[in-house]
Symmetry: C2
Subunit: 202 residues, 2 copies
């Protein structure tokens, strides 16, 4: 991936500074099994409430099982299908909403699953692999297609693969991929002492 | 922090391998403002659905404002108060459950907030700072004490600070801190092609 570092007031670790969600995948470059496993291992070791590990991921590797990959791909929203088809690997991140130790609702199921996915995409970054999380998909269809239990909530589909070089992108891809990354000013989301009081910078 | 690396089938990036949630904080070593800002910046640049950035964090730095720190600390569950009192910084991670662009429910609010918190704790790891996320706290009391809006859900309190050396810990601390880290086998949470079919290792 080309670099498009986050603009931060103070330096942050390159893994977090360099991670971003591109869309221009190289359709001809598969993800090695060892690299895929490294990403899953990174997710596996995320922290969770009561150590419940409420995340469940399903992997579809186009090289290993193309029909299954297509079934997953077809559950994506149209906007995502326009670019995600070039990604050799699709993932679904789901959250088991009931604690395994007592069957009661786990209000951290989605929160902990988001942490696991973040760990996964940072491992992707470390490997030079581009990950893009998507909320646009037909959850009901995924549930039916892959027999996902009722207590389990599909949260995000994730594309994995390698980015095209800037030279290989068409004009529209290049424009979209090089658009600047933006975030709200720090003080809008990070408070100090009281709700709404911007964190002190010095 | 002393090292207690995750046992993984394939190597993962040291940031994720080394992160773990200890409890034995050094009460005498504050967190530098620059390091705190780096952790917040890491959270700030996490990905989110529609780029909504639904996370809101509140920081309580004992050195900067001890009364506010105490008000936050007193909202922790008793089990957490038994050790978290030595941490110089407390954070609350909250999720705005309504999209900012249209005011509709954001079903990724907790998921995205979990990602931001993961990014924050990994930046802590990079700085040698120990972060520990907690689900045990009185959310209603926090809400009242700090005027947290109704649409915002308190998700986790997080301690930040430096770990005591093994020599400085008492026997109970040492035993707890050195207990092995454990996770379910990969195939229990990571499937391939279909729900429940363990991911292929080779």
């Amino acid at each position: 991936m080309f670099e498009k570092n986050a603009h931060t007031a103070v330096p942050i670790h390159p893994l977090m500074a360099r991670r971003w969600s591109g869309r221009a995948y190289d359709p001809d470059r598969p993800v090695a099994r060892e690299d895929l496993l490294a990403m899953l291992e990174a997710a596996r070791w995320a922290p969770s409430c009561y150590g419940d590990q409420p995340w469940r991921f399903i992997v579809w590797d186009r090289i290993a099982d193309e029909p299954a990959w297509w079934r997953a791909f077809s559950c994506l929203a149209e906007g995502n299908r326009s670019w995600a088809g070039a990604a050799p690997v699709l993932l679904l991140a789901t959250a088991d909403t009931l604690f395994s130790h007592n069957g009661k609702p786990n209000r951290w199921a989605a929160y902990d699953t988001g942490a696991a996915s973040m760990s996964l995409v940072l491992q992707a970054t470390a490997l030079g692999i581009m990950a893009h999380q998507m909320g646009g998909f037909d959850a009901a269809r995924l549930r039916e297609e892959f027999s996902i239990p009722e207590q389990v909530e599909p949260m995000a589909m994730i594309t994995l693969g390698y980015q095209l070089s800037l030279q290989e992108m068409d004009e529209a891809q290049r424009e979209r991929e090089t658009a600047p990354r933006q975030r709200r000013p720090l003080g809008e989301n990070f408070f100090e002492g009281e709700w709404g009081r911007p964190v002190r910078i010095r």
